[in-house]
């Protein structure tokens, strides 16, 4: 177990190093940042001065070492547009994004598991076929377009829910959240549903195939023969066994929810870090873009690491096949 954890940690470390190198050369090779910082009518002397001030006149390896030092200190410079620390801006916006991603994850579980169970236990039932058709549609629907249609239907036509913004936030233990007011929930629902859509389809499919397999297993037959109620068989015996893969996949998918929130946050004007990234891209605000990429990579690597280690703790087979290869 310890060897597995150490090997996994080393892997994670190399991924982070590779990303740091990629990000540096990606931003270094493509485009000269000086031109984004000086006004269009700047003289040659002014351009050179900006270049010197920001250290862009140094050789590549010096710039890279400076960048590496910055990354280690968690410092990516000041945002060109906002003028304040890039990492500070990102951290400020992070709770909103995490709140949205978490809400989407919960929606995916709450909606996905019951429907998937039904479709798995009664595969021939017409309702099951309907559920599966909807889940295929869920994979095909372009997320951003569904977001627009949700706004159209629930905000413009029906007027039930607000279309933009986060609503009132409260500070709980230093973290701003909108989870403690009805108005906050009303603002959260549509973006969370939009973000959850793909994951709902995913959970339905996972649960369905899991339930179909599990219901044929001997322990289920035995439980039935023992005369246990169907409710207990499904709730305890089947559900418990299909939860491991579902929890694993959802853990890994949490990172992709954070990434996809760029789209959802833009549509619903949700003030998270995804919206911040898009604004940074449109204004070529390099410190913010680099900061966001590094934060998300770190988030991803951490999630993958935790899920892998947890999974190998739950299922020793993973560990063994891993050490053979």
């Amino acid at each position: 177990m310890l060897a597995f954890v150490i090997r996994r940690l080393a892997q994670a470390f190399f991924v982070v190093v590779a990303m740091v190198v990629l990000v540096f050369f990606g931003t270094y090779v493509i485009g000269d940042p000086v031109w984004m910082m000086v006004p269009g009518d700047a003289t040659q002397e002014q351009v050179e001065e900006v270049r010197r001030t920001f250290g862009f006149d140094q050789p590549v390896y010096i710039q890279f070492l400076t960048f590496l030092g910055d990354v280690l200190r968690g410092e990516f410079g000041r945002s060109y547009v906002h003028g304040s620390s890039a990492i500070g801006l990102i951290v400020d916006r992070m709770p909103a994004t995490l709140e949205l991603a978490l809400a989407a994850l919960i929606l995916a579980i709450v909606i996905g598991i019951p429907h998937g169970l039904f479709a798995g236990l009664k595969p021939e039932h017409p309702v099951s076929r309907g559920i599966m058709a909807v889940s295929i549609l869920g994979f095909s629907l372009p997320t951003f377009w569904v977001g627009l249609m949700l706004i159209m239907l629930f905000s413009v036509m029906l007027g039930w829910l607000p279309a933009t913004g986060r609503g009132p936030v409260m500070s709980i233990l230093g973290i701003e959240t909108s989870l403690f007011s009805l108005e906050g929930w009303r603002h959260l629902f549509l973006p969370a549903l939009n973000l959850a859509l793909l994951k709902i389809s995913l959970v339905i499919r996972l649960t369905r195939s899991g339930a179909r397999e599990a219901s044929l297993q001997d322990y289920v037959k035995f439980a039935r023969a023992k005369g246990l109620s169907p409710r207990r068989i499904i709730g305890v015996h089947i559900l418990k066994n299909i939860m491991i893969p579902i929890v694993t996949v959802l853990g890994l998918e949490f990172g992709s929810l954070v990434a996809f929130s760029v789209v959802t946050e833009t549509i619903f004007a949700w003030p998270g870090m995804g919206k911040l990234l898009l604004e940074a891209i449109q204004r070529l605000d390099r410190p913010l873009i680099v900061g966001y990429v590094m934060v998300v990579v770190l988030l991803f690597v951490t999630i993958n690491l935790i899920v892998d280690i947890l999974y190998s703790a739950l299922d020793p087979r993973v560990r063994l096949t891993g050490s053979q290869s």
């Binding site: 931003t27 372009p142 159209m152 905000s155 413009v156 990172g255 992709s256």
Partner: protein
């Protein structure tokens, strides 16, 4: 593949058998027909659209934001309404489909070629080269495609060539992983040994003998990935970092309608999105069926 021995033209017989198996699923046939219609409409756009939406002489600003069914100044019916610039939406969608499909297919073909070559090399060469290629694949697949593409176009800038490059980068790893998987199985088979002992070169063994036997899963991946690429391009264009206004794909059209959304003019975003959805559903239906038909484990 031995069922066709009595047939004088085995290649043809195989295809007929394949087509017959494909046609067993009505929904998949519907998807295929839908896909043909969509592609045909995109190809024939200049002939069947009532207006060339990018000919400034034909477009009248007085026609802007008309609801579906309204009559244009030129006299034709605007079946799906018009957008903020007075362009007939039905025509814009046909022209937009051409761009969306081109980007999706072109990026798919390039990514498939790249992935095929790298996957085959990894499987055949083994050792350090394999480890290196597969590490890069793992790294690529561990990051969500929307984020990678977003960052890439942010660094590269707008334009059809740049977005194709970004889409290739996010897709090639899927092909490489799949091809390596099947090539690893194939290279242990006897016909490879036979080819080598006949004195054929490595390149010939790989590309003429191993490659044809690895193509079935690639075709399945190609359908799914092309649908994904079309959707991703639309997403990026909608976010304003994909194609410019001069290359109005479906995503650009949807983005243009966004500002009219809150005033209830739904059709400017709705219909291009519907066209996008139908395209993706059609490709996915065909891909799903291909996976079933081409899967050797399900045969007999």
């Amino acid at each position: 593949m031995s069922a066709t021995t009595s047939n004088p033209a085995p290649a043809q017989g195989e295809f007929a058998r394949f087509a017959a198996r494909f046609a067993e699923d009505r929904v998949a046939v519907f998807g295929l027909v839908l896909l043909f219609v969509i592609v045909a409409m995109a190809l024939l756009a200049p002939f069947i659209s009532p207006q060339n939406p990018y000919d400034l002489g034909k477009v009248d600003i007085m026609d802007s934001r008309q609801p579906p069914g309204a009559k244009a100044g030129d006299g034709f019916d605007m079946l799906l309404g018009s957008d903020g610039m007075g362009r007939d939406l039905f025509s814009s969608i046909l022209y937009g489909l051409r761009i969306s499909l081109t980007v999706g297919v072109l990026s798919g073909v390039i990514a498939a070629t790249l992935g095929l070559v790298l996957g085959l090399i990894a499987a055949y060469a083994g050792g350090r080269i394999e480890t290196l290629i597969m590490r890069v694949v793992d790294l690529q697949l561990s990051l969500p495609s929307v984020l990678v593409a977003l960052i890439l176009v942010a660094l590269l800038g707008k334009g059809i060539d740049k977005i194709i490059l970004a889409l290739v980068v996010v897709q090639w790893a899927y092909y490489a992983r799949t091809v390596r998987g099947s090539a690893l199985v194939e290279r242990r088979k006897e016909y490879v040994e036979a080819a080598r002992s006949l004195g054929l070169s490595h390149a010939r063994t790989v590309f003429r003998h191993i490659l044809p036997n690895c193509l079935a899963p690639v075709i399945v991946i190609a359908t799914v990935q092309t649908a994904h690429a079309i959707s991703l391009e639309a997403t990026l264009s909608f976010l304003g970092v994909g194609l410019p206004q001069t290359e109005p794909s479906l995503g650009v059209l949807i983005a243009n309608g966004f500002q009219y959304m809150l005033s209830g003019k739904y059709w400017i975003s709705f219909f291009p999105g519907l066209a996008l959805l139908l395209t993706i559903v059609a490709i996915n239906l065909v891909g799903d069926r291909l996976r079933d038909v081409l899967n050797p484990r399900l045969e007999k």
